[in-house]
């Protein structure tokens, strides 16, 4: 809490300094603000990781070191509120936002409770004006909020939490399972993390609507992406667009030569991986995405066709064969990357993938009727999710009260209440 207050106060003050008409002074304070925010992250999130890496590095050279290891719990939401603060200072520096005089308004922007712990990462120029203006209760907006909250709970409790009961034990003891079980588990984790994270985002956006706020849409059916670049226009949009606007574009983006564009892409994905946590597995996850992003950069350079991620598979509700295979291939790459994301070490991830190719005839992780019942609940949940997201998230189609009650009953009777698990992104 103290850290949140300190971080909020500092960025609030930096906001005024960065707004200075003297460009040199503004730039100096901008860098100080960046150092300040990254410093907080470096100490509380990454210090122990680097200390241990250095220790291991020295050990390989035969030098024994005893670094000081901080016994601190990672402050909840640190990655999210520091990015809120940075977004505010950046926007002021670019002239897109004026410093906010009322500290309470600014503090609400940084620590607005629905998005404090797991986003979406809001932009100052999007959320702050909403904080500053008067809001009135809007019945339709509140109903829409309830619908999103319910939908978020469905994805989290019915799909993600049920799947976690099947996924977690396998990742803990992956060497004891058949290849077929490992493949099923990897696919299950892809679905689990989507439902877990997008479920939280839906709940956060829904709660914000109850208070009259409109937040950034964070997911747009990412597993229907036909390529990795399209995936990143649909997955954790608030983070990817944050990196795009505040890191990728300042580095030159794709308006420079191909070599620098590729370098910029790698930087973005490395930073994105590292943002998730201080572990090589996250960096490997980012690298895989970067590697599969590059071919599209090469092709895109020749053929500048843009994918419209606002639409679900163009104007059609079902993909054509080409799109279908593109979707399957993209999902395959994303799933491979998730194996790295979920594994304890990179070696575990490689071993996991290697074992996926052995014993493809036997399922070893579904041992009891309870496991099958859990799987059945998750499968029903996934079918409902596809149906719901494909049909009812189309513009101007709303769920009726009857369908909302059916959804509520499904949450009640199919949710994993006994074995509920924390949101995955709370740890970041």
């Amino acid at each position: 809490m103290g850290l949140l207050i300190a971080s909020t106060l500092l960025d609030y003050v930096y906001g005024f300094w960065v707004a200075s008409p003297n460009p040199k002074k503004a730039k100096t304070f901008l860098w100080l603000s960046v150092l300040n925010n990254l410093g907080i992250l470096a100490i509380f999130k990454y210090y122990n990781f680097f200390a241990l890496q250095l220790q291991q590095g020295f050990e390989t050279l035969g030098i024994q070191t005893h670094p000081v290891i901080l016994s601190i719990v990672l402050p909840i939401g640190i990655s999210f509120y520091t990015f809120h603060g940075m977004s505010y200072v950046f926007d002021i520096y670019r002239g897109q936002q004026k410093p906010v005089k009322n500290f309470i308004d600014y503090a609400v922007f940084v620590s607005f409770f629905p998005l404090l712990v797991a986003g979406p990462i809001e932009r100052a120029n999007h959320l702050l004006p909403q904080v500053q203006r008067s809001r009135f209760f809007n019945y339709n907006q509140a109903v829409e909020g309830c619908r999103l909250i319910l939908w978020g709970f469905f994805k989290k409790i019915v799909i993600a939490d049920n799947l976690s009961q099947l996924v977690d034990p396998v990742f803990q003891n992956y060497k004891e399972h058949s290849g077929l079980s490992l493949i099923i588990t990897a696919i299950s984790f892809s679905i689990q993390i989507y439902c877990d994270f997008s479920g939280y985002s839906d709940i956060a956006i829904g709660v914000a609507k109850l208070f009259g706020f409109e937040l950034i849409v964070n997911f747009k059916f990412p597993y229907f992406s036909r390529s990795i670049p399209e995936f990143w226009k649909r997955w954790h949009i608030s983070l990817s667009s944050w990196f795009r606007d505040y890191l990728y574009f300042p580095l030159g983006g794709s308006r420079v030569n191909l070599a620098i564009t590729i370098r910029n892409t790698f930087i973005i994905f490395l930073v994105s991986g590292f943002w998730h946590g201080a572990n090589w597995t996250f960096i490997a996850w980012g690298l895989i995405h970067a590697l599969f992003f590059i071919p599209s950069l090469l092709i895109k350079n020749k053929n500048k066709t843009e994918t419209n991620s606002d639409l679900f598979l163009g104007n059609s509700i079902t993909p054509n064969w080409k799109e279908f295979f593109q979707i399957v291939f993209t999902f395959f790459i994303v799933t491979i990357a998730w194996i790295f994301f979920r594994s304890n070490t990179i070696l575990d991830a490689f071993k996991f993938i290697e074992l996926c190719l052995s014993n493809l005839t036997k399922i070893t992780h579904l041992k009891t009727n309870i496991h099958y019942a859990i799987l059945l609940k998750a499968i029903i949940g996934v079918i409902v999710m596809f149906y719901y997201e494909m049909i009812y998230f189309k513009p101007k189609r709303k769920l009726s009260i009857t369908k909302m009650i059916i959804l509520l009953l499904m949450v009640i009777f199919m949710g994993s209440f006994r074995n509920s698990v924390q949101f995955i992104y709370f740890q970041f």
């Binding site: 209760f137 809007n138 019945y139 109903v143 309870i370 609940k377 009640i412 009777f413």
Partner: protein, 292 residues
């Protein structure tokens, strides 16, 4: 507008809550009147005069038909997987309350009962929940206190909290009224799959000795003494483990070190189907002189 919104939410949730609890009330009756769980058998059936209580090690380790034939007595295996002696004691209390106490009671007893926190749920305790608001004994002796009042006064809550374990089987009951959850209706046994064979590296399993001490056992002796039940305690085989008691007990049968070979086990604490009859023979030999 805001009042209209809150009113609508409140009305919808209230209606859903009331309807769900009416459904829960009837589900309780539906489940109680079935033979789905062992606890239903205690309430609804006439039981044999010789009963086995225990966890999965008694449920899957004893061939009760063979035991019945060898001892010339009708036995029923009331053991349940993923339970502890506290649950078994509750069963004895129920039998006592219903005047269904047996002549001979064999209780399987081992370290599984010592390592779990008794204030929380054990995996299969939910099976008692449909009886919680209809039976005084279950109410009084129900061990896990977490969510106790919700389970007792909100009938649907148990079917929500344990939807996989309780709701799904109760739905199956509509289609298969004689459905039993993991036991044979005649003797109460259950068999694990045929390929249930211990496959760990033998050297990775260390030889050890466990000293048992469990105050629950005193309660078993108290009830047994007052109802003149011939109580026999036994410990089932555990791979590479020797079980000792901290105090001496009457009618105690220690078969913990009966099998040395890995091939007799499904995992470290369960014997497999192949050695079930061999174990039952040994149990018969130990029980025969002390049975009433």
């Amino acid at each position: 507008m805001i009042i209209k919104f809150i009113k609508k939410i409140f009305v919808i949730l209230s209606i859903v809550f009331i309807i769900l609890n009416i459904v829960g009330f009837f589900l309780d009756i539906h489940v109680r009147n079935s033979s789905i769980f062992k606890v239903n058998i205690i309430f609804n059936k006439e039981l044999a005069k010789n009963i086995i209580l225990g966890s999965s090690r008694a449920l899957t380790g004893v061939n009760t038909e063979l035991l019945s034939n060898a001892t010339k007595r009708k036995w029923f295996n009331l053991a349940m997987d993923d339970t502890r002696n506290e649950t078994h004691l509750l069963f004895l209390e129920l039998l006592n309350d219903l005047n269904k106490t047996p002549d001979n009671l064999v209780v399987q007893y081992d370290q599984e009962n010592l390592i779990k926190d008794t204030t929380t749920f054990f995996d299969n305790d939910y099976q008692i929940l449909p009886f919680i608001n209809s039976n005084k004994i279950v109410s009084n002796y129900f061990r896990p206190k977490k969510n106790y009042y919700l389970f007792k006064f909100c009938p649907i809550y148990k079917y929500i909290y344990f939807n996989t374990e309780l709701l799904f089987p109760s739905i199956i009951l509509f289609f298969k009224p004689n459905y039993n959850h993991r036991f044979d209706i005649r003797f109460g046994d259950y068999n694990y799959p045929k390929d249930f064979i211990l496959q760990k590296d033998e050297n990775k399993i260390k030889r050890k000795t466990i000293v048992l001490k469990n105050k629950v056992l005193t309660e078993f002796y108290k009830i047994s003494h007052s109802r003149k039940i011939n109580l026999i305690i036994y410990t089932a085989p555990i791979y590479k483990t020797n079980v000792k008691l901290d105090t001496s007990l009457n009618n105690y049968v220690n078969l913990s070190s009966l099998f040395k070979s890995m091939s007799k086990f499904g995992d470290v604490i369960h014997i497999n189907g192949r050695s079930k009859n061999e174990f039952t023979d040994s149990l018969v030999n130990s029980l025969s002189p002390i049975l009433r």
